[in-house]
């Protein structure tokens, strides 16, 4: 097809050719073509087949308002051809066809539409019942648009930015551009978002005069130039707004060009004030076969010629309801399109200057007429026009029908932000009311049509946004308001909804193949709320999300509904306003985790790392998943565990002790210097949430530890439970400031004494003692003698920057003993043998301190402390019906350990295994379980129901804990 050349409005570069592969054939176009314009210029009329009926569908709008032109590009489905620029070598395939778009084997579906009334799937397929599973398979295969391979990888970089602005303007048409200039003139930071690849909006392609000698397109480019030169305006082109939230949070995504470092970029803006100047789209005309390829909207035909240099066809009929249609007919005629006639649904009210221009070109003009039916089996061949009563009819041959009922404002951003949409009888629009504070609407969406008024309304909105930013522009605003009042206000719009037709194939929603007949069917069944009709018929729920259906559905419902109180109500607008790639939302999506100061050496030592809350930790250092060698090394020799993830805190100040008394269950007044003190925290339910050790460092100054999982919460927990008290204390989270090494095993002392400057004998540094040492005279270490793993052990807390050094020093000192790492798996078995609990492992949300047998830590006589959980501990202390923690061994010592989590049953479920492992020290399995109180007595049999046990229950018996070294002499040696 020959393209129009030399038009001043063109946005393509004819000098540079591009080509794509479509349906296996190569097609050529020019730089600036979208996939849709390139294919159209090459004669493609049928782009796809519709979802349900497999009807041929063609180019209808150019802004992706329906799925008509969705194609598969390089194995990515549902790509909108209308706003995807052509890249050299793209591989494009049509979708939802069996065969080709021209010859689709599924086309017979269109003949079966009688069998598919609204909601038909609710009433068939279930009788007889065995039909349904077969029907499901078939429905799934037929449903869905594009197909995706499970292995496909989307290419390109996706990233995100989070700019802030004083004023954010959505839409760079004449109103948006004027608003931006007004705000920028006040030296404010302005962000301007435009969904098309260039600024100008509906000025951009029009040659009608703005002022004598100044065509609209030139005016648009003039304003754009001014904007580009303003240093404080950040312009985002080809950027679709997708979300609009309270407190002026705007989200959008930008499509990258070849020069950009991203394929698409997520943009999230927080602005002080927002101007919405999104203009209008066209309201589709409802008539028989209104979806035939060759039928398109005014802007589509006009921009196709003016922006891309492609004439829509050879012979066109216009059936329009707005002056833009007449203007397009005149302009396209002058560009070479033959026009059979222009029908205007309005009987009067068009710009009186326009009909004479049609007459001058011998184009017949039919006011009060409308398209009633399109003819042609696959593409448009002719059209029947009728007057509004449907009495007179006339047919015209044509290959193009430019059809549109009028305009409809793009109010999506305002509706998302919380504005209500109310039907306005004058404009026929759903206009926003109750717009949130610091948000302003401007331009064509308010019903304005006069170009000067549109610009001025943009300027006014821009100034109001300036005022939102605290600048005194009141006088200027009043001036502009007065000026605007003198210009033409909102124009009367077309209320016309549907041509006098039967409506069998009059589509309200192209994406879901919903006809007005379907709407009628739904209403007959009792669906009388637009929102329910939408759900029942699925009109507006397709990929275009109501772009086509959005305006007509509620109007049609209101028109045909006989209820007097029915007021047209639009369906709810939902984000995203434009379908958006998951890749774009996900952005760079960096994996984030915390590493301990000795992470690298843990990995180098063969550590199998796993994620524990935010951390990476070593589970084991050997291939054996039971970590036997590590366990035995700790029991018989000496091992080192990186325990840096432990929560570590300093609390100090006159009321520090009171705060500790509030959150810890025991009497914290007993915490003294030089000694470690174990205690636990409960929540209000008396359920254990944390345990750890504490010591006093100085007067009113304490150091304590928490479990890894609680490290992030502990400060706010203590502050929360003292929030009414106005106590004077400070709490500092030292978790990241200190690394921790647990040096454990009978040879631990021999290693430690080689490197520290103080005595570490059992007398000088007894069990539960706390000492501060210097290692090699340079590294300060806080050492505590604890016994979590049940052997002589020293927990060494060291400033993070020294952690690796201390680790290396200990490793060197321990070389003669063959010191070795141990990981979490080894620690888990070691502590299990000791009957030491890990909260979350031996407890759940509802487990109290009493339930895990630690009730004795609760100091009942500190009522004045109002300890968190104390009330519940008192109320539950004698409750025997709760799940209690017990130790167990297998009845047959040779049996294997049951798997963690296996229920314990006796007619019903009575509890479950928390942790069970084979104990190499005891040469039999040991475990801990939470069981109903009546099973908690010693020597009671527990029957364990493992998954997939096929009725074979495992038998265990309750035994006292600890299993290993019951007197605890090994950790005290």
């Amino acid at each position: 097809m020959k393209r129009l050349a030399g038009l001043p409005t063109l946005r393509v570069n004819s000098a540079r050719a591009v080509s794509i592969e479509y349906d296996g054939k190569r097609f050529h176009g020019v730089e600036g073509d979208t996939v849709a314009t390139l294919l159209y210029a090459n004669g493609t009329r049928i782009f796809s087949r519709s979802l349900k009926y497999h009807r041929p569908r063609g180019l209808y709008s150019l802004d992706g308002q329906s799925s008509n032109t969705y194609v598969d590009v390089d194995d990515i489905p549902n790509v909108c051809a209308e706003n995807t620029f052509v890249g050299n070598g793209m591989r494009v395939e049509p979708q939802n066809v069996l065969g080709t778009p021209e010859h689709d084997w599924m086309a017979f579906m269109d003949k079966l539409s009688w069998a598919m009334p609204a909601g038909f799937y609710y009433t068939i397929f279930h009788k007889p019942a065995r039909l349904w599973p077969i029907a499901v398979r078939h429905i799934r295969k037929t449903a869905g648009l594009g197909s995706l391979s499970p292995d496909v990888e989307l290419r390109g970089r996706f990233d995100q930015i989070y700019p802030a602005a004083d004023v954010c303007i959505i839409g760079a048409g004449p109103a948006g551009m004027s608003a931006a200039l007004a705000a920028a003139a006040q030296k404010l930071r302005v962000i301007l978002l435009e969904s098309r690849p260039w600024l100008g909006g509906y000025f951009d392609y029009r040659t009608r005069n703005h002022k004598p000698g100044m065509p609209l397109y030139l005016r648009g480019r003039q304003l754009a130039d001014q904007l580009e030169q303003a240093p404080n305006i950040r312009i985002f082109k080809h950027t679709a707004v997708i979300g609009c939230y309270s407190n002026n949070l705007i989200t959008a995504f930008q499509r990258g060009s070849e020069a950009d470092c991203f394929a698409e970029r997520y943009v999230q803006i927080r602005a002080e004030s927002v101007v919405v100047a999104t203009g209008c789209i066209e309201r589709p005309l409802l008539f028989e076969n209104n979806d035939r390829p060759g039928i398109m909207q005014i802007g589509c035909a006009h921009r196709l010629a003016r922006t891309w240099g492609v004439l829509a066809g050879e012979q066109a009929v216009f059936s329009i309801g707005h002056d833009l249609g007449i203007e397009a007919a005149i302009d396209l005629h002058d560009l070479g399109l033959s026009i059979a006639c222009v029908a205007d649904v309005r009987e009067d009210g068009c710009d009186p200057a326009l009909p004479p221009q049609l007459e001058a070109r011998n184009i017949p003009f039919y006011p009060g007429w409308v398209a009633a039916k399109a003819h042609g089996r696959k593409v448009l061949k002719k059209v029947t026009l009728t007057n509004l009563s449907g009495v007179c009819k006339q047919q015209f041959d044509c290959d193009t029908l430019v059809a549109s009922a009028g305009l409809t404002p793009v109010t999506g951003p305002l509706a998302l932000a919380g504005a209500r949409l109310e039907y306005d009888a004058h404009t026929g629009y759903f206009l926003p009311t109750g717009i949130p504070q610091k948000m302003h609407a401007a331009g064509r969406m308010l019903g304005l049509e006069d170009p000067t008024a549109i610009e001025l309304s943009g300027r006014l909105a821009g100034l109001r946004a300036v005022a939102d930013c605290g600048m005194a522009v009141g006088a200027t605003i009043s001036g502009v308001e007065e000026e605007l009042a003198k210009l033409p206000g909102p124009a009367r719009g077309s209320k016309f909804v549907v041509a006098p037709v039967e409506g069998k194939k009059t589509f309200v929603c192209f994406d879901e193949d919903v006809t007005i007949q379907n709407i009628d069917q739904a209403m007959r069944l009792g669906f009388d709320v637009t929102e329910l009709i939408k759900r029942f018929t699925s009109a507006g729920t397709g990929p275009g999300q109501g772009g086509i259906a959005g305006h007509n559905l509620p109007l049609y419902v209101a028109l045909t509904h006989r209820s007097p109180d029915l007021h047209p109500r639009p369906t709810t607008v939902r984000p995203p306003l434009v379908p958006t790639l998951l890749a774009t939302y996900a952005g760079t999506n960096h994996p984030m985790s915390k590493r301990t100061p000795v992470h690298a050496s843990q990995v180098a030592a063969g550590g199998v790392m796993e994620r524990l809350q935010p951390w990476q930790r070593a589970r084991r250092f050997c291939a054996d998943t039971t970590a036997r060698a590590e366990i035995e090394n700790v029991r018989t020799n000496v091992g080192m565990l990186d325990a840096s993830t432990l929560g570590k805190f300093r609390i100090f100040g006159p009321d520090a002790l009171k705060a500790l008394q509030r959150v810890y269950v025991s009497d914290m007044a007993r915490v003294s210097t030089g000694r470690m003190y174990y205690s636990a925290m409960c929540n209000e339910d008396g359920c254990v949430i944390d345990d750890g050790v504490a010591t006093q460092i100085a007067e009113n100054d304490y150091y304590f530890t928490t479990s890894t999982g609680r490290a992030g919460e502990t400060s706010e927990w203590i502050r929360y439970h003292t929030r009414y008290d106005r106590w004077d204390f400070h709490i500092i989270n030292l978790t990241d400031a200190y690394g921790v090494i647990n040096l454990a095993g009978p040879n631990a002392r021999k290693v430690l004494e080689k490197v520290v400057d103080g005595a570490v004998s059992n007398e000088a540094f007894p069990f539960l003692g706390f000492r501060e040492f210097m290692v090699h005279g340079a590294i300060p270490v806080r050492a505590m003698r604890l016994g979590f793993v049940g052997e002589l052990s020293f927990e060494l807390h060291v400033p993070s920057s020294y952690m690796q050094s201390l680790w290396d020093i200990l490793e060197e000192a321990g070389e003669e003993f063959a010191i070795w790492n141990f990981g979490l798996e080894a620690q888990n078995t070691l502590r299990l043998e000791k009957g030491h609990v890990i909260l979350g492992s031996e407890s759940e949300q509802r487990t109290t301190l009493h339930d895990i047998g630690l009730g004795f830590f609760w100091h009942r006589d500190k009522l004045e402390a109002q300890t968190v959980g104390a009330v519940a501990l008192k109320q539950t202390e004698n409750d025997t019906s709760r799940l209690k923690l017990v130790g167990f061994k297998m009845e047959e010592p040779a049996a294997r350990a049951p798997r963690d989590g296996s229920p314990i049953v006796a007619e019903r479920i009575r509890g479950y295994v928390c942790t069970a492992r084979y104990s190499y020290a005891l040469k039999e399995p040991v475990g801990m379980a939470l069981v109903e109180g009546y099973l908690a007595k010693n020597a009671t049999r527990l029957t364990i129901f493992e998954d997939d046990c096929k009725g074979e229950l495992m038998k265990a018996k309750v035994v006292p804990m600890p299993f290993y070294d019951p007197t605890g002499k090994r950790m005290r040696m």
């Binding site: 939230y245 309270s246 706010e716 929360y720 929030r723 009522l863 008192k874």
Partner: protein, 87 residues
Amino acid sequence: MALTITCPICGKRSGYEFRFGGEDKGPPPQAAGLTPAAWCDYVHRNNCVAGVQKEWWCHRQGCGTWFSIYRDTTKNLEVAGPQSEDV
């Protein structure tokens, strides 16, 4: 919806920096003689106000302060408190 909360120390910030701390029910009741029902009433039961309520928030990713604000739960927006409390 994009909640912002005004921290008394750090000013107006994104709501995601904060952690919710419940309806403001006042200080806990004295433990002595507290019945299970009265205890439950304070700890677990809520007014579930569909409208403006006073509630606790902590600036978790900021200064760490606990403070109370008024918020409209039907709009998820911080609002000014009753006049009497302003002084």
